[in-house]
Amino acid sequence: MSDPSQNRAGDGGQGAGPAPATGALRRTLRSLTRSTPAMVGLGLVALHVLLALFAPLLTPYSPTANTPDQALLGPGADHWAGTDALGRDVLTRVLYGGQYALVVSFAATACAVALGTLLGCVTALRGGWFDDALMRVLDAVLAIPPILALLVVVTVLGAGPAVIVLAVTIVYAPQVVRVVRAAALGVAPLDYVTAARARGERTLPILVREVLPNIVNVVAVEFAMRASWVVLLISSLSFLGFGANPPTPDWGLMVSENRTAMVVVPWASLAPILALATLVVGLNLSADGLSKAWGVDRVKESS
């Protein structure tokens, strides 16, 4: 029984050895690389990140400087996607627009998921009246249409990236709470959590040491999935005129600015739409790939 060699035989050779964490990582990577949709998704997201990061190197134009003599040009050798009504290069604005979309979306998603995870775990561990009360409050928040809630927050606090991050956190954290709570409820009654409770440990250490490591996959998938919704929501907000202020290069704002000239310069609207669509599709496919690689059951989300 205490013979280690017998134990090693039971491992089937795979992932044995003193560094099991790398084994799990390798398994995940293998599962991801074998799935074409996951690779396409991750590729798209990576492409967007790279393009946004290196935008200043990729284009000679400024995203904000007006050049009225170059206004409303079609696609050509100088301006691959043409220019808009103020003579700004569309491709340049799309590339720089990625910076805004990615940074604000990432920050907002991170805040929403972090807050949601914390609340979800605590409510699952605490249970009782705390759970009941919090879940009813969140139900009430969930009943408000997201865009409406966003508009209210933005109208009250004024536009700006920080406000948008706050607004998205308020809108999406309740949904994250539901998903994470469901996952944490699966871990909370297990004996190792009971053992920690019998030691009299506080909720936070139990959460960090015993619960979080076992639901990190759910949280990661939730992050990727939620990010695609946030990108869309933030662009919608800009499109409606409540998000990024002109002349910030932003995809939603660009579609809004150029939609009146749609017939003259279609690419000024189409290019940001295309960029937005590929990013959302990429995020979605990555989330699916991750959830399959980790065996996370996305059906749970509806509960």
Binding site: M1, S2, G13, A16, P20, D191, Y192, A195, A198, P213
Partner: protein, 623 residues
Amino acid sequence: MSTADRPTTADRRTDAASREPVVRVDRLSVAYRSGGADVTVVREVSFEAAAGETVAVVGESGSGKSTVAGTLLGHLRHGSRVTGGRVEVAGRDVLALDARGLRNLRATDVALVGQNAGNALTPSMRIGRQIEESLLPLGLPRGQRQERVRSLVARVGLPDPVGIVRRYPHQLSGGQQQRVAIAMALAAEPRVLVLDEPTTALDVVTQARILDLVAGLSDELGLTSVLVSHDLGVVARMADRVVVMREGEVVESAGTTALFTAPEHAYTRHLLASVPRISDHGLAEVGEDGTRTVRARRPVPDGAPEVVSMRDVTIDYGSHRAVDGVTLGLRRGEVLALVGESGSGKSTLAWSLAGLRPPTSGTMRLFGDTGDGAGDDLATGARGRPLDVRRRIQLAFQNADTSLNPRRIVRDAVRRPLRFFGLADRSGVDGRAHELIRDVALDPALSDRLPEQLSGGQRQRVGIARALAGDPRVVVADEVTTALDVSVQASVLALLDDLRAQRDLAFVFISHDLAVVRGIADRVAVMREGRVVEEGPVDAVFNGPNHPYTSRLMAAVLEPEPVGGGGTASVPEEARPLTGASEEVPAGSPEGADDPDWIDLGGGHRIRRWDPDAPDGAIADAT
């Protein structure tokens, strides 16, 4: 069953007489792919079962017994495949059947009763509909189907056949669910019944009833059964012939009587010897060759101080009273066993002692830490106790799979309580953790492993090491050996016994296995419906006289000794040694007659009075 079925039953009896094998497994080999290599899980297994015969396939976990049972229904676990051999059931070559043929086979000739009926039943479907579903292949009209459902329900002994078909699975007890599963298996009038650990998830009394039911039914219907089990007591009770498997191979195959009285293979002998017996007066130690010596119990010294005292402890779950006025004491170095069926409140009481749920009323105190002798209050949750009191009572768990955090290495599991209770500083903690791991007879080299890389027994030892890290006085061991194979169970029990001697530890040992209790416990408290019905030194309790409920628990214990053919009911209406009336109090217990609640038999052995008119199993016979 209706009269229409009688002729078929008679036909089968004739079959049985001709003794032609209905199940034939011939040199079957099964392998699964892991990391690019084939791993053989079943190697050249052969056995036959004649009509009307019950053949048991016995082995420890990982022996491949369940895989063999699956092939009888043409089922293989994902990723595995048959690499050789034949399986014939009712004259059909199962492995050659296509999907339609398999469906037909399962609909008419062979049925499975699995371990956990709770998982096998659809939670959102009424019992009646589920049983009816398995009648669909017969193509009967609706009215006749429902008639059949009713007769099946009555036949498997479910109470209130009319009402129960309208219930949902979660409204039934585990035993009732298993009866429903049996009804579903019998619905299609199969010739072969495959029983995969049919009673493992049930407590002893329910187990005995279900086994009686299965034995009676297969006798009556002339069924051929293949029983897969790790429990030699169940096998001895049920089987005509036994096939012993180990690591995918058959090591011995013999008639039940022959196997249990004169096992030939050393492994069989070892397996048999490892099973704790209710007649043992201590823990059995089994040598490699299967010789069996019983280790004498180390008596608790007379002057041993009390370490925990519980008085009138009551615990409510909402309006349900789980524990109802329990008074028990525990001395240093003593093992107190809490025995009872599931739902008797034994776990609730123990968990409350461990600080997971404060009692609703009553007192619990821990002695030995504060000087004034009044003891420390335990009637609070763990957080309400001072750190020094908290660490004195620790828990060990039943399920080795969930007792350790799968993301933390073994050393972390042991290190955490050491740090938390401030028993080791940052530099000394690794050394202490290694010592503890060595103390539970584990190789310290395992301390960098994750739980998934350990065997069940090793994980259980880590769980014990974690409990020991707080340097406790009392360890609450909740069914710690129940999920383990017998040989591993024996070694873990020996470890607990050693630890108690070395550290003067007291154990609250929860178990429903009376044979294990007899081996390890000094005192036994039998609980039923939240109350202690009998309490006393282990030998006094096992020698009797007993409370009728205790007698019933003991009668339900299955010993690994053949009882002959099987088939007769084994839960006796035992003669009652005591009626509970006060004039029957044995002489020599001076105070006995004064106490309105208890009969004192002397030497600490006391029995709660009961109503002689009420059936001893006041728990309705609704298992």
